[in-house]
Amino acid sequence: MPKVIENVGCPYCGCSCDDVRITVSDDGKDILEVENVCAIGTEIFKHGCSKDRIRLPRMRQPDGSMKDISYEEAIDWTARHLLKAKKPLMYGFGSTNCEGQAAAARVMEIAGGMLDNCATICHGPSFLAIFDNGYPSCTLGEVKNRADVIVYWGSNPAHAHPRHMSRYSIFPRGFFTGKGQKKRTVIVIDPRFTDTANVADYHLQVKQGHDYELFNAFRMVIHGHGKDLPDEVAGIKKETILEVAEIMKNARFGTTFFGMGLTHTDGRNHNIDIAISLTRDLNKISKWTIMAMRGHYNIAGPGVVWSWTFGFPYCLDLTKQNHAHMNPGETSSVDMAMRDEVDMFINIGTDAAAHFPIPAVKQLKKHPWVTIDPSINMASEISDLHIPVCICGVDVGGIVYRMDNVPIQFRKVIEPPEGVMDDETLLNKIADRMEELKAKGEA
């Protein structure tokens, strides 16, 4: 009899939907049906039961081919290389549960290396802004139950977070928002006319790279200097700015969701920084919150876990034994790779080979490269060692943090391929092996 598993978490985007229904075959190995998921989420579940899953670690041979080896050998090789390297870097964690991220922290503390996550090429600038200016935010349920004005700034949930608008922001009917979309004003600020802009009441087509000026203009209106505005700011007419500012001021509860459009254009962190300042200003006269559209289902996780472990969310320098250091720009993965600052690279739960600039990948490739990932990807194909692991949310459960930092407990829906370890087990075995080698004086 096929079995239906309900309340399953989806391991795709930062929405971390937890209402998925999965029908599993009698033997618990196959996924027969996936419900309540967007198209992308469906594919991840289907991949989980693919017959082509890698089951054993693969080591690069002198002739360039890959050869299956045991987990024990892979663990030993990784542990020895971590101990030998002067400045190893472990990067990734877009698709890892928090238990795995905590184990990774242990590994890199013992190894004395660098530890970073995908925020470094994504919402890292948002962290910098939070360091400088705080983070007046809320959980997504507050938006659902209260918000009457929604701003999407430099983000396009219609494509990147497919269920965001229906579950949390524009369409749901909540406790104080019984009329749903009808009583919500939606403002999209984006240089492109996106599919999200298509459902908005206002689309402000800001001049690319000049968001900071537009935020500055809104803040001028809030501070009573609307009359001093130039006729046009960042391609937006003064009248439009005044009209939209009035909507913001009169909101009962407003939320700004921002994305890569702000974090990856000139000024980066300061675009978020001034957005936070605007949110603070608006709280004098109304109620406003702001939230980063985090990309992966648990990319908020490493920031949370490593903050309680070391006090910093990303770009960690653990080389000094007694204390951790962080300074993005210096200790960030891409900067270190470009400057050739590290001498070993572990790519885990992501694909640095696909995402990093080519010169950065070339520098990293000069040194030992390990990929820990369930799938074959560009990183695994240029690695010296590829270690397969379980897929979080499919064949291993665990805690993940949604984009609003709400912990969601994910469930295991099928059995992993026989013998395949989860991230936490694998990483703890690497840590144990390093401790063993250190104790024996082999390091």
Partner: protein, 266 residues
């Protein structure tokens, strides 16, 4: 003043952290003791003597000690970090954090400097003959107390985030600068003799920016109030004076509202 010369004899494989190279730590020590001071290459703790040959003599106090660094130290960080007195001359490019958290004394770099130059500096003087990268005289991440005193002069150009969260002191960039000058500042002066792309004075409460070249994209939050004559770095020019950031909170002093200023050369 006594002079001690350190010459690079062994290139490190990765970047080397030269946090021990300050007049404060060299003062009163013999050459052998100085060569024993620590330096980090990743997780490996070396001695300075593993990379440098030392000659000359350190003074009894920091103020009495001058350090001359020879050889290509492009891949070495943290020269003069937290120094309080004395002098360092680097005859090369050098990497990040030159004069970081510096309280006094003088650093001269004959080549280029990388990012975080004079970060959160409190006093003293830094002279860069070449270019600097980003975050000149900026605050450390998250701190609202940036550069509070001293002088940084960069003869070439600089990148973004100049004087972020600055509260005092002076930064002079003789070439061009990119974006974000005096962002979040609550004091201090930045002089840019070349052109600036934009975002000067955003979220600024107090402070003065002088721009002798072009400001390509001025922020809307600044409003022209006067035309004034001002002496900048020894020369007098006529400037249009703008006040702002009108979108930021204001402080009052004796009943008067305080603004940040941008002086744009006419």
């Amino acid at each position: 003043m006594e002079t001690i010369t350190m010459t690079l004899v062994q290139e490190p494989e990765l970047f080397l952290e030269c946090y021990s190279v300050t007049p404060d730590l060299f003062a009163g020590k013999s050459l052998a003791e100085i060569a024993d001071l620590p330096a980090h290459e990743g997780k490996i703790q070396w001695k300075l003597g593993d990379f440098f040959k030392f000659e000359g003599k350190a003074g009894e106090t920091a103020a009495d000690t001058k350090i001359v660094v020879n050889g290509n130290v492009r891949r070495m960080k943290r020269f003069g970090q937290q120094m309080t007195a004395g002098e360092i001359i680097i005859n090369s490019d050098a990497d990040m954090y030159i004069g970081g958290w510096m309280k006094g004394g003088k650093i001269t770099v004959k080549g280029n400097a990388d990012s975080f130059l004079g970060i959160a500096m409190e006093g003293g003087e830094i002279l860069i003959e070449g270019d600097a990268q980003n975050h000149v005289g900026s605050a450390y991440r998250g701190d609202w107390r940036g550069m509070s005193g001293g002088l940084i002069r960069v003869k070439g150009k600089a990148g973004n985030d100049i004087g972020t969260a600055m509260t005092g002191g002076t930064i002079i960039i003789e070439g061009d600068a990119f974006i974000h000058v005096l962002t979040h500042a609550e004091g201090g002066t930045v002089i840019i003799k070349g052109d600036v792309e934009g975002r000067v004075g955003g979220q600024m409460v107090k402070g003065d920016a002088y721009i002798l070249g072009n400001l390509l994209y001025p922020l809307p939050g600044f409003k022209k109030v006067a035309t004034v004559e001002k002496e900048v770095d020894g020369v007098t020019y006529t400037f249009d004076q703008f006040i702002g950031d009108l979108g930021e909170r204001k402080e009052k002093k004796k009943g008067e509202i305080i603004y940040g200023n941008i002086f744009l050369k006419k």
